[in-house]
């Protein structure tokens, strides 16, 4: 069995082979290329932001910020550090989480609302999974995590909770949460890397 290289692992996240070429053109100020890039990635950006924020109106606002940010900073994309889609999703997730935290701080001083959904984060994920092959893959891989790893990773990623919040929600010490997030992601990485054909 051959170990897939880091490069292979990164490639497969891109939905189309030419995202990199489009991004290069966008970095050069090509608005038409940006339109194509938009068509390629907007559903993923909007989907992710909406997944984290839940409110469609807010999600639309943040998705717009993210897409404009991609236009603005396209020249910063460094292919040595990941795929174009990965870079875009990283921006999207960060913005969505920032917004979720701002909302949380403004409206929800306690963790009670979050606590109510503690039991279901993974089920919610499963609900939205509708059979695309790659989704199945991440789902299968999530199943390979321990319960605590999965909870720690999904509470942070899908609900925008900070690790101290996750620690409170799950009632486990901070160092444990940090470790579970890390080894959960490592297991996820290895699983995705191993199962995706090059």
């Amino acid at each position: 069995m051959t170990e897939p290289s880091v490069g292979d692992r990164r490639e497969h996240i891109a939905p189309a082979p030419d995202a990199a070429a489009l991004l290069t053109a966008v970095a050069g100020g090509d608005e038409k290329a940006f339109g194509q890039l938009y068509d390629l990635v907007a559903p993923r950006v909007f989907g992710l932001v909406r997944r984290v924020l839940r409110d469609p109106a807010q999600a639309e606002e943040v998705a717009q910020e993210v897409l404009v940010e991609i236009w603005r900073t396209a020249a910063r994309f460094d292919p040595g550090r990941g795929s174009p889609t990965g870079w875009i999703l990283t921006i999207a997730h960060r913005r969505a989480v920032d917004r979720a935290r701002a909302e949380q701080a403004a409206t929800d001083r306690t963790l009670k609302v979050g606590a109510a959904s503690v039991d279901t984060p993974y089920d919610e994920v499963a609900d939205e999974v509708t059979g695309r092959i790659e989704r199945q893959q991440v789902r299968v891989c999530l199943d390979g995590l321990t319960e605590l790893q999965r909870q720690a990773v999904t509470l942070a990623y899908y609900q925008g909770h900070s690790y101290p919040q996750v620690s409170q929600l799950l009632g486990v010490p901070l160092p444990t949460v940090k470790t579970r997030m890390r080894d959960g992601l490592i297991r996820l990485r290895d699983c995705l890397g191993a199962e995706v054909p090059a």
Binding site: V6, R9, R10, I13, A27, E31, F34, G35, Y38, A42, P43, R44, F46, G47, R50, R51, E60, A63, Q64, V68, W71, R72, T73, A75, R76, D78, R81, G82, G86, T90, H93, R94, R101, A102, A105, A106, R109, V125, E128, V129, R132, E134, V138, R139, V153, A156, Y157, G160, S162, Y163, K178, T179, M181, R182, D183, L185, I186, L188, R189, L192
Partner: protein, 235 residues
């Protein structure tokens, strides 16, 4: 210390750190190439969690975004390798390090300790505000590119202004921060020339109506120059 911070790598890849920790972790990554590689890999793994989240946005989003980018200047490739975190004052750190060497050489260890101590106290003060149970966050984009975030806490009777501009103003110009009460601006200090990122603790900030950011002629201005680069309403 390094190991301590490195244990945050999973939380970092999941965006589960607060701003201070994230900045500290970015610093850690700048100093450690293998850590960067690990962080990139974990980030890519985390990105796969978005594989199931796919949702067609309303058609107006496309129109809005395309209209917005037509008005939005792009960062030049030359500016690209300098991420915004860069400006977290490498100069000052270098200066502190240099000072530490000199002072250690003459045996004045207590002064080094004082510098370190002030830094720690500042970080503790920041943490106290940012983690206050009643902390309220506000955020606005800078017209010149970047963001300003303001955290206020009545309980701590203070707030934090975090300026995170994409790039420093042109030579001879600086960013200046203002608090505005009943329409009257008062300076909360200016950044240094060439500086684009700053985190400032401002006493009594929760009683202000707004925070303003302007671009002024260095070193600073007595009154804000219109138009404001950003205004963050706190009311």
């Amino acid at each position: 210390m390094t190991t301590e911070i490195h244990s945050l790598i999973g939380a970092y890849a999941l965006d589960a750190l607060d701003d201070l920790e994230r900045a500290a972790f970015d610093r850690h990554l700048r100093e450690c190439a293998t850590c960067r590689a690990e962080a990139d890999e974990l980030r890519e793994a985390a990105n796969h969690l978005a594989d199931g989240a796919w949702s067609v946005p309303p058609p107006r989003l496309r129109d809005n975004v395309l209209a917005a980018i037509a008005q939005t200047p792009q960062l030049t490739p030359a500016a690209a390798p300098r991420p915004r975190v860069r400006a977290r004052s490498p100069h000052r750190l270098r200066w502190v390090a240099a000072a530490a060497v000199v002072l250690a050489a003459v045996g004045a260890g207590t002064i080094v300790h004082t510098i370190e101590d002030q830094r720690v106290r500042r970080e503790q003060a920041l943490a106290a505000i940012l983690t206050a149970p009643d902390v309220i966050w506000h955020e606005e984009s800078l017209a010149s590119g970047g963001r300003v975030r303001v955290a206020t806490s009545d309980r701590r009777d203070a707030g934090v202004i975090m300026l995170d501009a994409d790039q420093a103003p042109t030579a001879g110009k600086v960013y200046q921060l203002w608090t505005i009460r009943s329409g009257v601006p008062s300076s909360a200090g200016a950044l240094d020339e060439g500086q684009s990122v700053s985190t400032r603790i401002v006493d009594d900030l929760s009683t202000a109506d707004a925070v303003g950011v302007t671009v002024e002629t260095a070193p600073e201005s007595k009154t804000p120059t219109a138009p404001l680069d950003a205004q963050v309403n706190l009311a």
